[in-house]
Each structure stands twice: as structure tokens, then as C-alpha cells.
């Protein structure tokens, strides 16, 4: 059987890729995708911990479903905001959203 640590490493990598994406990408849609990657990394963690540590209690599985639902709700709001910004400015590049700064 594949050891637990492999899953954790994949999950940590995925989280880091998402983190990097959020900090480095300039397109708001790509930033949203990066956030989704981070949330999915958490899901891998939850399911792996459930399978290896407490397979008798389904808590980890149930939480993964909660996280999926929340992620979908967040994506819905996020995409709506991005579309609204795009309609007004024809751009979703983060650096061009600079009306607000010191």
C-alpha cells in the first residue's frame, strides 16, 4: 500500500503550487484557479488522513464534501465579481486594478 506520506507530499506540493500561483499570476481568473488548487490540496489531505488514521469514522470524508461545496460557492461569487470587473474595464489583470492605493 502507498504510504500516507506520499499523499501528504502531493498535497503539500499542490498547496505550494497554488500559493505560488496566487502570488505570481496577474490574471484574476488564474488567481481564482490557484485558490481552488489550494482548497483541493486540503481535500487530498483530509481524505488521506481519513483513510489511514480513522477509517471507521467518516468525518474526514464528510468534511471533504463540505469543502467542495464551499469552494463551489466561493467560485460562483468570485467569477461573478471577475465578470463584473471585466465588463467595466475590459481587463482582469491584477495590476490594472489600481484605483485603490495609498
Amino acid at each position: 500500500m502507498i504510504p500516507l506520506s506520499w499523499y501528504l507530499i502531493v498535497s503539500a506540493l499542490l498547496f505550494s503550487i497554488g500559493l505560488f500561483g496566487l502570488l505570481a499570476r496577474r490574471n484574476a481568473v488564474a488567481m481564482l484557479m490557484a485558490v481552488e488548487l489550494m482548497l483541493n490540496a486540503v481535500n487530498i489531505n483530509l481524505v488521506a488522513f481519513w483513510r489511514y488514521q480513522t477509517p471507521e469514522a467518516p468525518a474526514g470524508l464528510a468534511w471533504a464534501v463540505f469543502v467542495l461545496t464551499i469552494a463551489a460557492a466561493e467560485a460562483a461569487v468570485g467569477l461573478a465579481l471577475i465578470i463584473s470587473v471585466y465588463r467595466r474595464r475590459d481587463s482582469v489583470i491584477a495590476e490594472e486594478l489600481d484605483t485603490l492605493k495609498f
Partner: protein
């Protein structure tokens, strides 16, 4: 395979009332013609006031809801939760009074505003009542997602939607951190229930350490603590002012509620470990918040940095609670006093703001206000004195108690930083007051009846907290966490 959990629905009755009323209100709103949407606003109170009454009746009781067979409750009510729930509901009621005329004059009058606010209040209340990390995450999202929408509610303005997008991206980012922390806690202990974490976690587990760090990052984002404060000024400047007044108190207090419960009930034995982290965050937050506020020209941005600075003062009490659990009552009292002062300050900002194109928000726009609106200027001066922490105001007694808690816990240099930065804060807080009284200028204000009500309540409450802090502090000191055993017994 699964036994049905014990429900104990009375614990969450206020939440049920608010949720159900928000949903009913959605349908009622369909039948309210455009232009009369203030009725949706006033109807919001029909949900908020019974919820407040029930919450007050829950004072002194402890109990848990959704208890699995032989397990721990998911939701608890104790004095800590009841105290904070009262705060959110008061904020909500005052925010309705502020909003009704503001969103009409700003041309944003749509019914969604009010029930999004109700849902957000439910999320806030759940933050303080959750006894399980995963429920804290759900509450966090329930509180945040409506706020993302509300921040972008002014669809006619570039700044509003930009602030909403920034708030959304950084909020989702911090949620991911928080969630990763939860997953690691789950890995380290096999549970996310705070009392069980307390029993099973071991100090030498690197997984648990990483988990605690990630959770702290998530909370620091939510309360706007340095170095995770960058979103605050942008969001406060761009979002509609009435929304800012609401979330600058509600979202911040909710973040602190969950932070205090996680640290106080999940990880209390690690006090010596997280106390230094909180101390450093608190010191940085006070320094950066106050010094960055000095150079702000926009009053909403200035109040945003002021909010960051105040998060630092509240954190003194949290840091002190590592060695002395009683110290959180100082932070709770601080939040109570801050609620009224801050909402009063925002009410003045709304009165002066001109709604045609974001004018009247610069500090210079307050020049000559006292000539035409003496009482409003006096109220502004009083709130600003309270934020600085001058005696006879709620802000003074609040700072007095958190500094006292800091000294008792031996955090002398943190208290010294707090005192010095309070002096610095006088520079920027008193500038609009100075402009209002000392300069000639064209400043005008409109004070609607709702705004008048909020101003009177806020001045009165700040005065009461400034002169008779004793009984209120006594209440805050009774607002402690419930005993785990009484949750399961169902109080």
C-alpha cells in the same frame, strides 16, 4: 451504523430565527416595489430584535447542540458566545439604521443588501459558538461570502467592485490557509473537535505545530493583523461606507471570537508556544497600524488603519490570556466599547460623505463643519477622543483594561508599545476634529433620522462605558468559556 445525534435546538434558536427570517425576507422583498425597499430594511429588525432577546435570555446558560453518541457537541452556547452574539446583533441593528438612508441616497437600494447582512450575522454568531474546527470554517465562509458581495454592492463605482475582488481573493487565500491548518490538525489528532484536540494533541508533533501556525495565519488575515493586513485599507476605502461600518466591527470581532476559542479551548496547554507569536503580531499591528494611519488623507482609509491598530490592542488581551485565562475579558470589554465608538465614527463619516462620486471622504472635507453642524462635530470629536483613549470615554476604559491585563501577565514592553502608539494615534484622530473646528470651509452634512438614532446611541454608550465601566467589565469577566462537561449534559 450512525446513531442520531442529540440536537438540543434551543442552543441555536437565535441562529434559526435569523436564517429563517432571512429566507422569508427574500420572498417578501419580491413584493416590495422598487423605491420602497427601506421596508425590507426595517423588516430586518423583525428578525434581529427577537434574536437579540433570545440571546439575552441565554445569558448564564451553557449547553451544546448536535452531540454525537459519546462525542462532543458541534455548537455550544456559553457566556462567551452569548456576550459576543449580543455584540453582533447590536452591530446589525445599528447597521440597519445607518444603511436605510445611506443606500437609498447612494442609489444602491436593493433588498439583497439586508438579507445578505442577516446571513453574515449568522456566520459571525456561529464563529463564536462553534466547538469544532470544521464548523468554524463553515461559519467563516458564511460570514465572508455575503461580505464579499456587500463590498461590491455599489456596482456603479469602480472602487467598490475592485475592493470586492481584492477582498475575495485575499479572503479565499486566507481560508485556504485556515483549512490546511484544520486538515493538519485532523491528521495530528484524528479529530477537529476542540475539546478532543485538547485531550489528544502532543507537543512534540511537528504536524500539530504546523497546524497551529496555519490556523494563526488564517485568523490574522480575518482580524486584519500585521503582516496580513494589506487588504483592509483597500476594502474599507472602496466598499460602501455602511457596509464598512458593519464589517469593520462584525467581521473583526468574529475573527477574534474564533481565535480566542481555538487558542483557549483547543490549545491552552501550548500557551508558552503561541504567546510569543501573538505578542509579536500584536506589537507589529499596533506600530504599523498607527504609523500608517498618520499619512492617510482619506478618512475611510484612516479608519481602516485605525481598525488594524485596534486589532493590535485587542491582541494584548489575547496574548495575556496564555498565562491568565481571565485576561480575555479585557479584550471582550474592548470590543464592546469599540463597537459603539467605531460605529459612531462611521455614522459621522456617512453624514459628511456626498454620494455623488465619492466626495467628502478626505480629511480636508471636514473643514468648517462645526460652523454649520456643531452637534455633529462635537460627536465626531467625542468619538475621536474615544479612539485615542482620552479619559471619560469608552476607549479610555477599554485601553485601561487591556493594558492592565498585559501588565498582570508580565508583558510590560508590549504595554509600553501600546501606550506610545496611542499617543501617535492622537495625531491622525484629532486632524478631522481640528479641521472641523479651527478652519473655515464649505463642509456640509446630512443627518437622517436613522443616522441621528445611531449617533445618539453611540455617544450615550461611549459615555456610559467611559464613566461607569465597572458593571460592563463585570459582565465581560463573566463571559468565560463553558465547562466541557456541562455542554454534553446539556446544561
Amino acid at each position: 451504523m450512525f446513531a442520531a445525534p442529540t440536537l438540543n435546538l434551543w442552543v441555536i434558536t437565535p441562529l434559526i430565527i435569523l436564517t429563517v427570517w432571512a429566507i422569508i425576507l427574500m420572498f417578501i422583498d419580491l413584493f416590495i416595489p422598487a423605491g420602497k425597499k427601506q421596508w425590507t430594511g426595517w423588516l430586518t429588525l423583525v428578525g434581529l430584535i427577537p434574536a437579540l432577546a433570545l440571546t439575552l435570555m441565554q445569558w448564564g446558560q451553557t449547553g451544546g447542540a448536535f452531540i454525537a453518541e459519546g462525542g462532543q457537541p458541534m455548537v455550544v452556547v456559553d457566556n462567551f458566545a452569548t456576550f459576543l452574539n449580543t455584540l453582533y446583533l447590536l452591530t446589525g441593528i445599528l447597521a440597519v439604521f445607518i444603511s436605510v438612508s445611506y443606500i437609498r441616497d447612494a442609489g444602491l437600494e436593493r433588498g439583497e443588501y439586508y438579507f445578505l447582512m442577516l446571513f453574515s450575522i449568522v456566520g459571525m454568531m456561529l464563529m463564536g459558538m462553534a466547538n469544532d474546527l470544521i464548523l468554524i470554517f463553515l461559519a467563516l465562509e458564511l460570514l465572508s461570502i455575503p461580505l464579499y458581495i456587500l463590498s461590491g454592492f455599489d456596482t456603479g463605482s469602480d472602487t467598490s467592485e475592485e475592493s470586492a475582488l481584492k477582498y475575495f481573493l485575499l479572503g479565499a487565500f486566507s481560508s485556504a490557509f485556515f483549512l490546511f491548518g484544520i486538515a493538519l490538525t485532523y491528521g495530528a489528532t484524528g479529530t477537529t473537535s476542540l475539546p478532543v484536540i485538547l485531550d489528544t494533541i502532543s507537543l512534540d508533533d511537528p504536524l500539530a505545530l504546523a497546524a497551529l501556525g496555519m490556523l494563526l495565519v488564517g485568523f490574522a488575515f480575518k482580524v486584519g493583523a500585521v503582516p496580513f493586513h494589506m487588504w483592509t485599507p483597500d476594502v474599507y476605502e472602496g466598499a460602501p461606507t455602511s457596509v464598512v461600518a458593519f464589517m469593520s466591527i462584525g467581521a473583526k470581532v468574529a475573527g477574534f471570537a474564533a481565535l480566542m476559542r481555538v487558542l483557549g479551548q483547543g490549545f491552552p496547554m501550548w500557551g508558552e508556544l503561541w504567546q510569543p507569536a501573538i505578542v509579536v503580531i500584536s506589537a507589529l499591528t499596533m506600530i504599523v497600524g498607527n504609523f500608517a494611519a498618520v499619512r492617510q488623507q482619506n478618512i475611510k482609509r484612516m479608519l481602516a488603519y485605525s481598525g488594524i491598530a485596534n486589532a493590535g490592542y485587542i491582541l494584548i488581551g489575547v496574548a495575556a490570556s496564555a498565562t491568565d485565562p481571565e485576561a480575555i475579558s479585557a479584550s471582550l470589554y474592548y470590543m464592546l466599547a469599540y463597537l459603539f465608538t467605531n460605529i459612531g465614527a462611521f455614522a459621522v463619516v456617512i453624514a459628511v460623505e456626498k454620494l455623488d462620486g465619492q466626495k467628502g471622504l478626505l480629511v480636508e472635507d471636514y473643514k468648517g463643519l462645526a460652523k454649520r453642524h456643531l452637534l455633529l462635530s462635537l460627536a465626531l470629536a467625542y468619538f475621536m477622543f474615544s479612539l485615542v483613549g482620552i479619559p471619560l470615554t469608552g476607549g479610555f476604559t477599554a485601553k485601561f483594561y487591556v493594558f492592565g491585563a498585559g501588565v498582570t501577565a508580565g508583558l510590560y514592553w508590549l504595554v509600553v508599545i501600546g501606550a506610545i502608539t496611542s499617543v501617535v494615534s492622537a495625531f491622525y484622530y484629532l486632524r478631522p476634529v481640528l479641521y472641523a473646528f479651527m478652519y473655515e470651509g464649505p463642509a456640509v452634512a446630512r443627518v437622517s433620522r436613522g443616522l441621528m438614532f445611531v449617533l445618539v446611541v453611540a455617544v450615550f454608550a461611549t459615555l456610559v462605558f467611559g464613566i461607569f465601566p465597572g458593571p460592563w467589565y463585570e459582565l465581560a469577566s463573566q463571559a468565560t468559556f463553558g465547562n466541557v462537561a456541562t455542554f454534553v449534559a446539556g446544561g
